[in-house]
Point group: C2
Chain length 336, copies 2
């Protein structure tokens, strides 16, 4: 029968070992301030009772939680997960806990933003690919909540950015180099871009610009805007490939969407790369598996970096906010 006895507190240990609670606390938090005999005694009592300090209580007394929160949209998408992976590894090394706040809607985000900083249930916040109202950003900053933004920036907060336009340019140059003449673009550039910013427009801008400079155009019909979801991406890809004069190269604004393009191509018996070149963006794990040419944005690294910056700031809040720009590289594989 599980003896649902409530777990022992520092008082129980104190009583058992015949010293005061402060000594117990010291044994745990500053072992060299206590006599080694006493130390041994106390440790015995601790072991005997199976005592472990209660986290919430400790956090309250300590005024710190050793916990970092991450706000992320589409907890579902591989690119976010890979970032998260970077964050997780750094945090776990530093013995911080990782709290995930999945954001499904603008309201959701608002709710989190307004309560988290004040609840003080985390020491710092990483906000991934979410656009932030200026006043919210200021609130975070004013409340002294250390924050790192990824793929978005605000003068008062740390941020990690990538040069999406440059990414678009890289793709165009690569495709041009391969001798392509008809291009298409597929990505989520719907006006509001909703709460989640996937800075797709900039990728398109860079792409278009280089194409334009080289004397090629990218007519409206060859730019398909569609949400990230699989269904929509496929539909868009299908329409692109059914054009009277189909493109010979498609730049998809994310690797997952590139996969959708590839799937449709397969169904249509369009050979890749012979009949159609496909380039993605992100370089998620599977990109390598399926030999997709793509723009590498060091997702893991960006997460790691974000966590490191945050931890530094938590340790020393006086540092000025940093704005970091991560380089982008084109990884050529078999789809171009």
């Amino acid at each position: 029968m599980p003896s649902r006895k409530k777990s022992p507190t520092i008082y129980d240990v104190a009583k058992l070992s015949g010293v005061s609670i402060s000594t117990i606390s010291r044994v745990l938090n500053a072992p060299d301030m206590v006599n080694s005999e006493t130390h041994k005694h106390v440790m015995n009592a601790i072991d005997q009772l199976g005592f472990v300090p209660r986290a919430e209580a400790r956090a309250r007394a300590l005024q710190s939680t050793a916990r970092i929160g991450v706000l992320t949209p589409f907890f579902t998408a591989p690119s976010f997960v890979q970032r998260l992976r970077g964050v997780a590894s750094t945090l776990s090394k530093a013995n911080y806990e990782l709290l995930i706040y999945p954001v499904d809607s603008m309201d959701h985000l608002q709710g989190y933003i307004s309560s988290i900083p004040l609840m003080r249930n985390v020491d710092g916040l990483i906000i991934m690919s979410l656009s932030l109202e200026s006043q919210d950003a200021e609130r975070l900053s004013n409340n002294g909540m250390e924050t790192v933004l990824i793929e978005y920036s605000h003068p008062q907060l740390n941020s990690i950015l990538i040069d999406d336009e440059h990414g678009g340019r890289l793709v165009a140059e690569h495709l041009l180099g391969k001798g392509h003449k008809t291009f298409a673009f597929l990505g989520d550039i719907e006006p509001p871009e909703r709460f989640s910013i996937h800075p797709v427009k900039s990728r398109l801008t860079g792409f278009k610009q280089v194409l334009h400079d080289a004397g090629y155009s990218l007519p409206k019909a060859y730019i398909r805007s569609c949400p990230y979801m699989q269904e929509e991406s496929r539909q868009a890809a299908l329409e692109l490939l059914s054009l009277p004069k189909p493109p010979t190269a498609i730049f998809a604004a994310s690797d997952m969407q590139a996969l959708s393009v590839m799937k449709v191509a397969r169904q249509l018996n369009v050979r890749i790369p012979q009949d159609l070149a496909v380039v993605g963006f992100d370089d998620i794990d599977v990109a390598d598996h399926v030999d997709l040419t793509t723009i590498r944005q060091h997702l893991d690294e960006s997460g790691r970096l974000a966590a490191e910056i945050l931890l530094n700031r938590v340790a020393d809040p006086s540092r000025p906010p940093q704005q970091i720009n991560l380089p982008l590289t084109l990884i050529e594989r078999q789809t171009t």
Copy 2:
């Protein structure tokens, strides 16, 4: 200039509104116990100060945290992430926070297991695909820490299982139906299976059994054990396809490994499915994208279910532990 003033406490609100802290607390937690005039007053003060109760303090007084922890290995692998997605969606609906504990090693796991239940920093625990020492499981149970195990079971804890042998059988039957005669298996069946259990052996057992019953054998050389990592999987796939008499069908114990097989096949100009059939296991998101035939194990659903069971148990700890078995289905796509 950010006025780094510490955020207001319940005492500040009390002072401003001229009532006692208990009244403030009541306004927040039991509004109908307080006069509507007072209520209005207090709310004004709260708004004016921008007061929000501090989470840790609340948790301490309330003896509950509204927070669920998830222990997961390979935070990296898509299959785990998809489970997590299910967990996250349920939790977020129920207003629970999600704490992730990435497990990289046996020590890591031990550390978590021994401190979490006693720290009481979560109300419940979901343990994914990790093997648990019997004494640890009992400790969790004895300490009254509500726990749901996924892909592992213990009589005193809730668990969600899948019938891996059956999955293996499904694959064999499917392949047999397609007329294949030479089979191979690729998966991580190294003896200790390390701390993370990916119950690959059972999949192999079921697979072998059906093959055997049908009069086919699966010689040692056609069973390649390799860790989950991409490099190793590719190497193994390469060796399999370089056998004097290469298999015409490969069953990979996970979708990601199946992708590795497909990649190698591509490099070797082995056509899929004409020259080689590939079947995976998991049905992760990308499986659909790359048209991989695989065994669907409802990853999202398993996560959702785990979270639901956990929440129920947290609400009513007297319920007996549940053991749930999730069905498996073969999803036929283009690789067979």
